[in-house]
Symmetry: C2
Subunit: 335 residues, 2 copies
Amino acid sequence: MQTVFFENRPGILATGTIVGRAEKSGPLGKHFPVWFEDDKFGEKTFELCERKMLHNAITQALEHAGLESEDIDIVLSGDLMNQLISSNYAVRGLDCAFAGVYGACSTMAETLLFGGILTDGGHFRNAVCCTASHFASVERLFRFPLELGTQRTPTCQWTVTGAGALVVSRDRAGSAKGEKKPVLTCGTFGKVVDYGVTDANNMGAAMAPAARDTILAHLKERGVEADYYDMILTGDLGYLGSSILNDLMNEKSCPIDKIHSDCGMLIYEQVHDCRGGSGAGCSASVLSSYIWQQLRKGKLNRVLFVATGALLSTVSVQQKDSIPCIAHAVAIENL
Amino acid sequence: MQTVFFENRPGILATGTIVGRAEKSGPLGKHFPVWFEDDKFGEKTFELCERKMLHNAITQALEHAGLESEDIDIVLSGDLMNQLISSNYAVRGLDCAFAGVYGACSTMAETLLFGGILTDGGHFRNAVCCTASHFASVERLFRFPLELGTQRTPTCQWTVTGAGALVVSRDRAGSAKGEKKPVLTCGTFGKVVDYGVTDANNMGAAMAPAARDTILAHLKERGVEADYYDMILTGDLGYLGSSILNDLMNEKSCPIDKIHSDCGMLIYEQVHDCRGGSGAGCSASVLSSYIWQQLRKGKLNRVLFVATGALLSTVSVQQKDSIPCIAHAVAIENL
């Protein structure tokens, strides 16, 4: 059994989102009220910018929920930097407990799963679930520093510069304007799936089998058909990976093309050197802004959020290992 | 509130431990039945060795619990390698869900907290909680490759080559030989604490304040005095850090010197270039072997396990940041 059921239906109280210039000028631009113009948000390094974004998203989420940091029992966060430094430093000033989790670009779903479990089981009242990524800090960590001007491969995706935070609570969101009150109903932890892909510039292809594995496990264990959901929203498969996922689902006679969306496709248009967005901040910023707004308005009512992660490092690539991947899923619904 | 209470008292069913040669020849040697002689456990690289140790510890724990991998709902693991590659690759062949968590050397306690919550809340039946570290892989990642022959500083600790795994379950351990059945009763998530230490070769000093913060929060929120416990067992403060912790506790009129032990002091004797053990595998291997055996025999009945972690990375050190630290605590008791 990989699926956990939240009997007490923890609510999502509010969210916070911040993005960079490229994301603001993309198709979802109007859904990102908070953004910054320069590459570093006024900081000296890309890494300092990343942690500042994360702190900003957390602060926004608390403000929107009408909470202070002392109302928060725990912050659950992770990021792509080595040893999760963006998360560790972002929460340093906050007076609440912290737990670091890591699932690469699936981190947003993993934090929501743990946030759901902690509040559903009655262990805690309020948890902030969040993550962030920055295009330039990830490029220099996993690929090449931007200064080299390296040509991009035809399959590569762009790491989103952005952060997202959601407040998960035993309580429900308010609805002064007749808005819906989205809750977490259940979720599925992924297994590590490795189809032998070794190209670190083709993450979508590496991650698609993990997404299929988790979606199929979720539907089976919950006992519903795919069309139970208004939307199955993958994290950052991008244009290529999403197309592979649809083929893989068809193979299993479980087509999802009519209800499938991907955060990496929503946030960037496809151009010759960008096959969609990626990075932990991709699914975090799209879920906490556009998707959250659609849920609140009732335009979406049953979303299965399936964030995917490639669990490699530069060392594992250099030592010629293939790329193990994982997808964690969480169901967000208006009841 | 940082403390979670486990009303259903999840049991620890069994453990698995493996260590290297230095640990086998240390003071706890006779408590480590499984060990290896060469530096790499027959593998080509230190990193491959680390993941093999972790896989070995998991396999042992399952065997001792009489379980197959399909009986396990989830493996909770993390490690010091960038992007947690040891954990990601160690579970690749296991047919169960996985969640990566990261708390540096506090990871063992963090996985136990999540394992406790998942089984206590009824979400899952069995979870494997584990972590590992390797002296040589950590030295080259965080400090200097061994090949350089760099002189060690007077405050430095030695990263333990070892792995530990514990099976946490809704069920209780068997007791064919009249052994006790240790359970998790409660635990406390730490806050990020940073006293401005910048010396990455003096981890014990950096982490001691975090240990104090979590111990005091735990005792207050649980409403017990320190001497409620037979043992307050810190993870890897080592000889220097433990002495600092005792001073810090005395300052708060809460002396713990009579009941305090430290895994980093238990595993290595103090010599001129080693102020005790460190690394995620330090507390994991000591808890899952010697301490577990003492609990099973009833020689210890109430242990507060407080693993400490330094949440730095090479990038944060190079960018002149101080070292944020955290300590997570979990109470393991015979009822």
